[in-house]
Amino acid sequence: MTDTPLLGVRGLTVEAGRAEAAPRILDDVSFSLQAKRILGVIGPGGSGKTTLAHALVNWLRPPLEVTSGEIRFRGEDILAMPSDRAARLRGKTIAYVGGDPQGAMNPTMHVGEQIIEKLRAVEPGVSYKEARERAVALLGAVHIPSPEQRFGEYPFQYSGGMMQRAMIVDALIANPELLIADSITQPLDVTVGAQILKLMRELSERFDTAILFISASLPTVADVADEVLVLEGGRVAECAPVDDVISRPRHAATRKLINELPKLWHRDGTTPVAATDKAQTVLSVQNVSRVYPIKNKSGLGKPKLLQAVRDVSFDIHAGENFGVVGESGCGKSTLMRLLTALEKPDTGHIVFDGEDVFGRGRAGTRRFRREVQLVLQDPFGSLPPQSSIGEIISEPLVIHGEGDRRRRRARALDMMGEVGLDKSLYESLPTRLTAGQRQRVNVARAMILEPRLMIMDETLSALDQTEQSRLIDLFERLQAQHGFTYLFISHDIALVRRVCARIAVMYLGEVVELAANERLFFDPGHPYSKALLSAAPTLEDRRYRPEDCLLEGEPPSPIDLPPGCAFASRCPSAHDRCREVNPPPVYRGEHDRAACHLLQPEPVAS
């Protein structure tokens, strides 16, 4: 009995349809998981991780189906079981949490009621009262603040991180023996994701649940798992204890995953450096704020104010990469809309090339619209599916009334060459492109007008590491050739470490720290910057230990902010003064500054 593993998978093969040439999504996958252990599964995007998770909970949707192999749970093959028995395992003995917590519950029912509903569906004997007690207790156990009150709220009133905790409660409430967690930290901010990881470790010990922990990020998996299984193209590349996989990777796929990991504290002289003082200022942001009135629910009374961007200032110099980092809701996208003149700031000025963006005449505005281009995140939503790739790339020329048809075509083909798109794609539709190719189309389209400033709003976020690296190389080459200046807006601290010379860290609409790359990573001034660094997934020895810097909770609502430092509610070093006075920026040297009461100004080195 002790020899039978909790979960034993043998030769599992999943194909998309029964046809001879049907693609194999999973190919002869075998592994076993002992009770109370955590097995991590990693692999690049598309390697079949989600398919594996779905196969285990019997959730494959046509055309996908298991064509051979067995999934033994406590020695019994789930695939061969009568379907009603298999259905009874689902949710009760084998639970699942996915990477889309917001979409996982009915938006029109209270979160708590749905947890109760689930518990009573899989354990019909439980009374409503008992179910409620268990749910509230567990919500508290996963650190949801005031669980009694949260119990009666709707999913849309939860933040992403809280919803993910609620889904974990939902999965664990029936005391399952096996929990399958697929990419559960992926949609979350790093500081919140780090809290969820900590929670997984605690819960597996407390409830003796075995966990199959799936993630695309090796550092994340290494944090929680005992053993790691590496998937590559639907096959098991290797399966070994975590430390072995990291220190002695045996398979090329594993080595590739490790090598591609961004290095945060590795000094190899490739850190982008700031432009010299003489460099021209391309874009100057001066005390910019943006406030949105939020209509009161009843429509009566005076509207509340949501302060999306608060008193933000920085300069971007020609030829220099500037980065803006921060977690969701910190005001990055509002800032992007202000910088591209899609919206007007309520106070302050945005000066491009020596001229106020909103004080220009028609011709000036037109020039601004050419010289500043935006590339957005979502490679799937942003391309019109009916136009050919050539049309999409040359459209800006049409809008700005440039060249004739033949010349536009030639320009578009040039651009495709520059961004590494095959010219034969000119007539095809974008539907067949991969995420990376689509993003290249977007870049080519932005470049065709020869802009001076390119704003990249989460441009690389949806791509995997390999594709990210390729595009970063491409950006560098294009910059060398055309002299662009880039502004990267991202939540990804490793990305800005790699490409940006100067970095602004945003929290709740404010720039809390602005520093050169090296300084920010080796000597951050603001406690929030330290927290971000401590939460970043990496295999390196951390300079900032999560135990010292990791945050509890989530950013407060930007509506009706309390006085004082906005970070005070989560700051490990907060003191009384922080709750009364908002700290002014303290200069650390000539250019670097951070807003925290704990800092002393540093004299400018002469």
Binding site: G103, T108, F156, K297, S298
Partner: protein, 326 residues
């Protein structure tokens, strides 16, 4: 708190809408050609008498003055008196210009409150019949998009939509009333008289319900929380009954609100064919007789009903889907 704010705002909007409708109808009635006094007193009456009666009724005052006078009555619950109908019953004949019956002309409010129950009864029955037939078909179609129940619902809907209501009314009356003698068709004596017109109306409404439901059910079934519910361990019946149908009902609710308002406001053709003594028939006669106060009264009452139904539907919708509370 939300409820109070919501009701205050919506009722205020409603008052504005009703006022606008009233003013519009009031002005229109007074600028279109055709003198109601001439109709009242008959073609034979001398012009001087027509003028005299018109003066006396205040019909020669400027329109704003007339409107103000009318409104002050309306806010006190007085919708005025019918021009042509005596309190006792049938419309007054055109030749009776001796004016003996003036004092006994019917109150508009009374006329409407006596008629409205018939129409409400007809509307409710039509709605119930339509729902009984359309809801199962629509849900079934929505649960199997693209397969036979969906296609069948589509065909049935197209057939229902393309049947003209006057034709259906006449055919039903001929078959069930004249030939089989199962149901009465013309006039009203008891509840049975409501059935045939209600069937005609139900056939008119059902395709909209089927379409709305099948689309919204199919859409909800594609939501990720429905798929996730099965993995969480909920049974299929529970998923459909407690989650899918509830969320799919919001568009249906809006549709029912609009349809019910339309039914109250004017099932003109159907009431006319079956000589059904509801608001529709009352409206037709009022228009034919240029009975201004009655037309106005009906307009006000139906627009008030419209506003109330709308508020009620939106309130119900926010109770089902709290995200609609904006």
């Amino acid at each position: 708190m939300f409820l109070l704010g919501f009701l205050t705002r919506r009722l205020a909007q409603g008052v504005v809408i009703v006022l606008l409708v009233t003013f519009l109808i009031f002005t229109l009635l007074r600028v279109i050609p055709g003198d109601p006094v001439r109709l009242m007193v008959g073609g034979m009456a001398p012009d001087t008498l027509v003028e005299e009666i018109a003066e006396e009724m205040g019909l020669r005052d400027p329109i704003p003055v007339q409107f103000a006078r009318y409104l002050s009555g309306v806010v006190q619950g007085d919708l005025g008196q019918s021009f042509v109908r005596p309190a006792s019953g049938a419309a007054v004949g055109g030749a009776a210009f001796d004016d003996a019956t003036r004092g006994e002309r019917a109150q508009v409010l009374t006329l409407i409150t006596e008629t409205a129950p018939y129409t409400i009864q007809l509307a409710l029955l039509a709605m119930a019949l339509a729902l009984v037939v359309a809801v199962p078909i629509g849900v079934f179609a929505g649960l199997s998009p693209g397969r036979w129940p969906d296609r069948m619902a589509l065909y049935l809907g197209s057939v229902f939509v393309s049947v003209p209501n006057f034709w259906l009314g006449i055919v039903l009356a001929l078959v069930f009333s004249v030939q089989l003698g199962w149901l009465p068709a013309i006039g009203y004596e008891n509840f049975a008289y409501t059935i045939l017109p209600a069937i005609v109306l139900a056939v008119e409404i059902a395709p909209f319900i089927i379409r709305t439901l099948s689309v919204s059910v199919a859409q909800v079934m594609r939501e990720s929380y429905i798929a996730a519910a099965a993995v969480r361990g909920l049974g299929q019946t529970r998923i459909i009954m407690a989650h899918a149908l509830k969320n799919a009902s919001v568009p249906l609710l809006n549709l029912l609100g609009v349809q019910f308002s339309l039914l109250l406001g004017g099932v003109l053709v159907v009431e006319f064919i079956f000589d059904y003594p509801g608001l529709g028939l009352l409206t037709i006669n009022a228009v034919l007789q240029r009975d201004f106060p009655l037309i106005q009264g009906i307009a006000i009452v139906t627009s008030v009903a419209f506003v109330m139904i709308n508020i009620f539907v939106d309130l119900l919708a926010t109770m089902i889907d709290p995200r609609l509370e904006y």
